[in-house]
């Protein structure tokens, strides 16, 4: 008898808890994040999470925060996003290029849920896209690389062949070439955003072939470790500052600062003013941060890079300003012409001077 009473009480309490929770959750805005990697990858995903946490701190109790890490790009992403939408999320941020189609597909089934897809180009009534002009940061890295290299060989660990990555290579190459006409780029594609073992092997291969500057568009700090062990090799932090590897080998970085955007968009949901937008901000708006240039860089080169950063932020200089030819020698931009956003968004060619083909 007693045991039965206990059970009944327990069940009642569980029922109350189950019923009570949603009632309390209703006044909160539920914000969901889908991450492609683990939140401790040291780079891309970690910084999205970091920015998301800043957003959460900003709103405090007004938001309910959920996230799912290590979501593979592809069909499984659709399941993860659907699950989050079914779980009552009001706005879902999907933070990798490969989540583009899954996000669009799921969004069609949940017209009342707002979606925000990072680095893609497909919009819908309830899907916004946002990205950062990382190529602005690449221009600064290219300038530093061109100035600092002694072997005139710059390595580039490229991830997945999409316009964002290609823009970065082109921008870095153009600016390295501008300050050092003898510079040569060696590009290795690893076809993944995050694979520390492969990134380390790629960095070692580049260093063994004489590169003394290694740029990366992959998410882990493995290339820095390889550079540190080799000695005399310069690297740049990617997505996160990676300051723990400074002042050598890491001499600067591109920092993704998503928190102002996240705060703005979640605020819009709370206010009921959310609309589908296409945001592409750079250094000027603070979405792309340039990490402290370390003392391993000669003062002149540092000043030159900082001047370029300020010019880009002020809007007086655009990294893709003509004359620029495509790899095959055909003209792309005439003297003084500035690339339009459409061309940049769909960029799928190397500029003149880069060796090798883009994998298709």
């Amino acid at each position: 008898m007693k045991r039965r009473t206990l059970l009944a009480t327990g069940a009642g309490a569980a029922m109350a808890a189950a019923l009570g929770l949603p009632a309390r959750a209703q006044d909160k805005t539920k914000v969901g994040f889908i991450y492609v990697g683990p939140i401790n990858d040291g780079g891309w995903t970690q910084h999205h999470h970091h920015s998301a946490m800043e957003m959460v701190h900003h709103f405090g109790d007004a938001v309910d925060f959920v996230y799912q890490e290590n979501v593979p790009e592809g069909p499984d992403a659709e399941r993860a996003i659907t699950q989050m939408a079914l779980g009552g999320a009001d706005i879902i941020f999907t933070t990798s290029f490969g989540f583009m189609d899954p996000t669009i597909n799921v969004a069609a089934n949940f017209p009342d849920v707002k979606f925000e897809h990072a680095t893609g180009y497909k919009q819908a009534d309830n899907v916004s896209v946002y990205s950062a002009r990382f190529y602005e940061g690449r221009a600064i890295q290219g300038t530093l690389a061109g100035r600092i290299t002694k072997s005139n060989k710059v390595g580039y660990i490229a991830s997945v062949p999409i316009p964002e990555v290609i823009r970065g290579i082109n921008s870095a190459y153009l600016h390295a070439k501008k300050v050092n006409p003898d510079v040569e780029f060696k590009v290795i594609w690893i076809f993944e955003w995050l694979n520390p073992a492969k990134e380390a092997d790629a960095a070692k291969a580049l260093i063994e072939q004489g590169c003394d500057v290694v740029l990366q568009h992959t998410d882990s700090t493995a290339p820095h470790q390889a550079a540190k062990e080799a000695g005399g090799v310069y690297t740049f932090g990617q997505a996160a500052d990676m300051a723990e590897y400074g002042p050598m080998p890491r001499i600067s970085s591109i920092i993704d600062n998503w928190s102002p955007y996240y705060i703005e968009r979640v605020q819009a949901v709370i206010d009921g003013t959310w609309g589908s937008v296409n945001t592409w901000d750079g250094i000027g708006a603070g979405m792309v941060g340039i990490g402290e240039i370390s003392d391993a860089v000669p003062a002149e080169a540092k000043a030159e890079a900082e001047a370029m950063r300020d010019a880009i932020a002020a809007g007086t200089y655009h990294p893709f300003t003509g004359p620029i030819n495509k790899q095959d020698g055909s003209a792309w931009l005439a003297e003084g012409e500035i690339a339009n956003d459409g061309d940049l968004a769909g960029m799928f060619f190397f500029v003149e001077g880069i060796e090798g083909d883009i994998p298709s």
Binding site: G42, Q209, D357
Partner: protein
């Protein structure tokens, strides 16, 4: 041409070591008649435990000890399930891999390390100074030599020792071995634990030497390659070295060829290591697998 063949061959040995370590452990397990598909899971748990043990103690070698212990402990779960509860080995092994991947992610939450912990490279006196051969063979960290030493040890153990003969007997015909009075289950549990320890070392080599960092999913399928290489080697220890170095070699070579700007589509270069493994698997006359491989054993039968 910027590829330096000496550095390439030296890099090859480092890239191959984790596969070789994991494969030699699995070889012993399979020679005792057990198929453990959980290599990947044991490797990654070894990777995270080795990383934490190494960085918290400040001594990378303690990290390797911790990794071996963690790998062996995880393999003990597999041993109990398959040897005493007679579960299906394939399903249990796959389960172990998934369990290991999740467990490592859990253990690794917030694992912090310092970039300064490194395993120093040996500079073997005299030998290291030989031109060409010295930098290729004699300037590695101790784990590279240990992996080769383990292979040699396993070879001698299986070929010349009485215990090795018993292990092979258990793998070939567990009923006959049982009838002769050997404790089949004890032999297999020990073999499984050896396999787990080797997989743990392999994982720690990735997280302490090759990358060296801890990040979720760091082994990235190396355990599966190790399984393939055991078949490739037709269960013979020395051939294992050839298989592991071939795979590691093609992996390193394809990155170098890419950096060289070779006019071969990158996709072909990327698939080359896997393709090479499959081609060789098909071409060599596959050796005979241990006759009792993958079969459950109960002393009553």
């Amino acid at each position: 041409m910027d590829i330096n063949p000496i550095l390439l061959l030296a890099a090859l040995m480092v890239a191959s070591t984790p596969i070789l370590l994991a494969a030699i452990g699995e070889l012993v397990v399979e020679r005792s008649g057990v198929l453990n598909l959980g290599v990947e899971g044991m490797m990654i748990v070894g990777a995270v435990c080795g990383y934490i043990a190494g960085h918290s103690s400040g001594n990378p070698y303690l990290g390797f000890v911790g990794a071996a212990a963690a790998g062996a402990a995880l393999s003990l779960i597999f041993a109990v399930l398959t040897q005493f509860l007679l579960t299906n080995q394939v399903a249990t092994g796959l389960g172990l891999t998934m369990f290991g991947l999740g467990l490592s992610s859990l253990i690794g939450q917030g694992a912090k390390g310092s970039p300064d912990l490194t395993v120093s490279k040996l500079h073997i006196p005299l030998l290291a100074d030989i031109p060409v051969v010295g930098p290729i063979l004699f300037q590695h960290d101790v784990m590279v030599y240990l992996s080769v030493a383990i292979v040699a040890g396993v070879w001698a153990f299986l070929k010349y020792s009485r215990a090795g003969l018993i292990l092979r007997a258990v793998g070939e015909n567990h009923d006959a071995a049982h009838a002769l009075g050997y404790n089949v289950r004890a032999v297999r549990v020990l073999a499984i634990m050896f396999g787990g320890a080797c997989a743990g070392l392999a994982g720690a080599y990735i997280s302490l030497v090759r990358v060296p960092q801890w990040i979720d999913g760091i082994t990235a399928g190396a355990g599966w390659i190790a399984l393939a290489i055991v078949v490739f080697a037709s269960w013979k220890p020395w051939r294992l070295i050839a298989g592991a170095y071939l795979f590691g070699g093609v992996t390193v070579l394809q990155l170098n060829l890419q950096a060289e700007g070779l006019k071969i589509p990158v996709e072909y270069l990327s698939m080359a290591p896997y393709l090479a493994t499959i081609v060789v698997l098909v071409m060599i006359r596959a050796g005979r697998a241990p006759a009792s491989l993958g079969k459950s054993f109960h002393p009553s039968t």
